[in-house]
Amino acid sequence: MFLKRELLRRPDMLLLHCPFCGPRNEIEFAHGGPEKKRRPDSTSDIEDEMWIEYLTVSRNPIGPVAERWWHVRGCGGWFTIYRDTRTHDIIDEGPL
């Protein structure tokens, strides 16, 4: 849209590794929220509290989070990264 070439080289943006397209700039992606735990099996009788926690609560650590990103201005794929909320560094090992 504007300043695009300069933007691509900004060091403080995330360089996200799309499994299909490879390393691409953060502006091509949409943040998809924290990685969810496995959806509780609704056919088994789970407690209401567990279900509500699954729906509403995410980890909010000062440190590594696992989160989903959507390559919306690219191949359209979804993938998970691990990122430190203090530094935005993408790390190999996640908290899960």
Binding site: M1, R10, M13, A30, I52, V57, S58, N60, I62, R83
Partner: protein
């Protein structure tokens, strides 16, 4: 409390302003209080003040990890307004604006409260429909929006020269929220601290809460462990904004809150050029001019959870480029500094002011735009702590709403979504 007035100013001028009494004490830390408030920010201090003033509870300590008023109360864009969307939210913010209007007098502290009004620059029809819908909701609670035509928008905001018929998003009209105001943010923290201290509340800075402690036999909260030792209390309120989950995690309480970073930045000071708060919801930027002449500009939050307080370059450039579309004259302004504040956003984007499953533990969080809510947030939390029952204004803000999946979806009132 030494009253501030023109006479005290004159009197103190004779002693070269060396004999002003301290605005608040630094008393020794006791090991037991009736109520502990974690966080000496706007909400924490106003809670302490209203606890003492309205409920006569003065054996209260406010614990602060850093320095008083150094968190989000120092890291916002000072806009006070009540243009919300839901029946649950609007009366609360109307009350907050009303309390703000009387604070300078009540606390004997010049907040530099300035009723500027806010103008939303409407550039798309979906946004116009959304704001009109809010207008009708707000009308029920004496908060107003009124439509003005483009000529009038340009008359009231002289530097608004962009957004013409050939632009990307031509201006359709403006929506004015006349109740909006700005005030001096530090003074809000300092005035509540001074008034609360005067009523007997103790404020302890550099006192970091490491964890919450529960009674073994009944699970009740019984105090906190700090870097200065264990402090016991019958009731504890967590009022720490973005770090709420860090505190509640220590006791195994999981809250539906995530923390994000929202940043703002200011230009070099210039002569008075804009006397209203300008909000451009369609392109995602808002600005006002401070009393010092700086343009205070804000945009969208950084994507993803964050505890950083800097700005992402592309988020910053998006905000600046959006602003320049409407205000091309600002292109030559130098930007002086930026800051970030931690937004704690609940699952449904509505604040949480509530008891918790742990008896004696209270939480006030999820404000993300909590500056405008400081007086009413403290007023209602104090009521909740004192009576163990929520004030009617915050009944919808309880944690119980998640249990019933009875969400109060409050979004779209800022550029943050």
């Amino acid at each position: 409390m030494q009253r501030y007035s023109i006479f005290s100013l004159a009197r103190n001028a004779f002693s070269n302003h060396q004999s002003w009494s301290k605005a608040w004490r630094s008393p020794p830390l006791k090991n037991h209080y009736d109520v502990l408030i974690i966080g000496a920010g706007g909400h924490g201090l106003s809670t302490a003040y209203y606890l003492a003033k309205n409920h006569g509870i003065t054996n209260v300590a406010v614990l602060e990890r850093g320095w008083l008023g150094g968190g989000n109360i120092a890291r916002n864009t000072v806009t006070i307004r009540s243009n919300y969307m839901r029946d649950e939210s609007i009366p609360f913010y109307v009350k907050s604006v009303e309390l703000y209007e009387g604070l300078t007098k009540e606390l004997n502290y010049n907040l530099m409260y300035s009723n500027r009004s806010m103008i939303d620059i409407v550039q798309t029809y979906p946004k116009l429909r959304e704001i009109k819908r809010r207008m009708y909701h707000m009308d029920l609670y004496d908060s107003t929006y009124e439509r003005i035509e483009t000529d009038e928008v340009r008359r009231r905001i002289p530097p608004l020269t962009g957004g013409g018929p050939d632009s990307r998003f031509p201006i359709i009209c403006g929506m004015v929220h006349p109740q909006a105001a700005v005030c001096r943010h530090d003074a809000v923290a300092w005035s509540f601290a001074r008034a609360a201290d005067n009523l007997g509340v103790e404020i302890h800075q550099n006192t970091e809460v490491i964890k919450l402690i529960r009674e073994d036999h009944n699970g009740r909260i019984c105090g906190v462990e700090t870097n200065r030792g264990i402090i016991r209390a019958n009731k504890v309120a967590v009022v720490v904004s973005g770090h709420t989950t860090s505190i509640t995690d220590t006791i195994g309480l999981r809250l539906p809150i995530k923390s994000f970073n929202l940043t703002a930045f200011v230009s070099e000071p210039v002569k008075p050029i804009i006397d209203v708060v300008v909000n451009c919801p369609d392109i995602g930027v808002y600005l006002s001019q401070s009393d010092k002449g700086e343009l205070v500009i804000g945009g969208a939050p950084d994507p993803g959870q964050s505890f950083r307080r800097d700005i992402k370059q592309h988020v910053f450039e998006n905000a600046v480029c959006s602003m320049l579309e409407l205000f091309p004259a600002f292109k030559r302004l130098k930007l002086m500094r930026q800051w970030g504040g931690t937004l704690d956003i609940a699952h449904d984007a509505t604040p949480i002011v509530s008891k918790t499953d742990i008896p004696g533990l209270f939480v006030s969080a999820g404000w993300w735009g909590g500056f405008k809510a400081v007086p009413a947030g403290g007023f209602t939390l104090a009521h909740l702590i004192a009576n163990n029952e929520p004030h009617p204004l915050i009944e919808p803000f309880s944690l119980g709403r998640f249990r019933g999946l009875d969400f109060v979806l409050e979004a779209g009132t800022t550029t943050a979504t």
